[in-house]
Each structure stands twice: as structure tokens, then as C-alpha cells.
Amino acid sequence: PSHDDIKTIVEQKARELFMVCDVEEKGFVSKRDMQRLVDELPLMPDQLEEVFDSLDDDKNGYLTLEEFTEGFGGFLGLNPAP
């Protein structure tokens, strides 16, 4: 598969996972949304906060799909284009 194919697949998957977090379909994930996942994921509240802070690049308290996708790409070992 080409680089673009991989990018498309990663974006699709990231969007699916983003929607698991953004249950209200607001278009962003807040810390409150993140803490809601404590019942569904095997992570502690402080770990979820750590993940949120790590993904929230501009530290504005809102996690956008773009930031989420970038973090997901990093998790997969894909470096974002310069």
C-alpha cells in the first residue's frame, strides 16, 4: 500500500476511535468525556488525564480529531509529515 493508503486507513480508524470518546458527537473530546471512559477502559482516571494532556497539543482543553489522529499515528509508529 502507498503512503496515502496507509494515511487514509489510519485516519479512518482514528475517526472511529475518536467517536468512541466523543459520544455526544460534538466534534471534540473534553476531559469530562475522557473521564467517562474510566468505566469502559482499564485505565485509572489520572492515566486518562495523562493521555488527554499528551494528545491535547495546544493545551486548550479540547481534543480535536486532528490532534487525536496525530497521537494515534504516533502510537502506530508513524511520524507526521514535516
Binding site: V51, D53, G71
Partner: protein
């Protein structure tokens, strides 16, 4: 410095994404 803010370790991030992927696959059974 483990107390440094905004420095989530990769293990926690990996755990988060892996858990989300598992949850997603459980919620969306393959046809």
C-alpha cells in the same frame, strides 16, 4: 522527571489506544 506535566509515558498511551481498539472491535462485530 516523572512528575513533569504533559509527559504521558508511551506505555499509558499505548494502553489507551489498545483498549479503545479492543472495545471498538467488541462493539462492532465483523459480518
Amino acid at each position: 522527571d516523572p512528575g513533569k506535566p504533559g509527559s504521558a509515558n508511551e506505555g499509558v498511551l499505548a494502553n489507551f489506544f489498545n483498549s479503545l481498539l479492543s472495545k471498538k472491535s467488541v462493539n462492532s462485530p465483523s459480518p
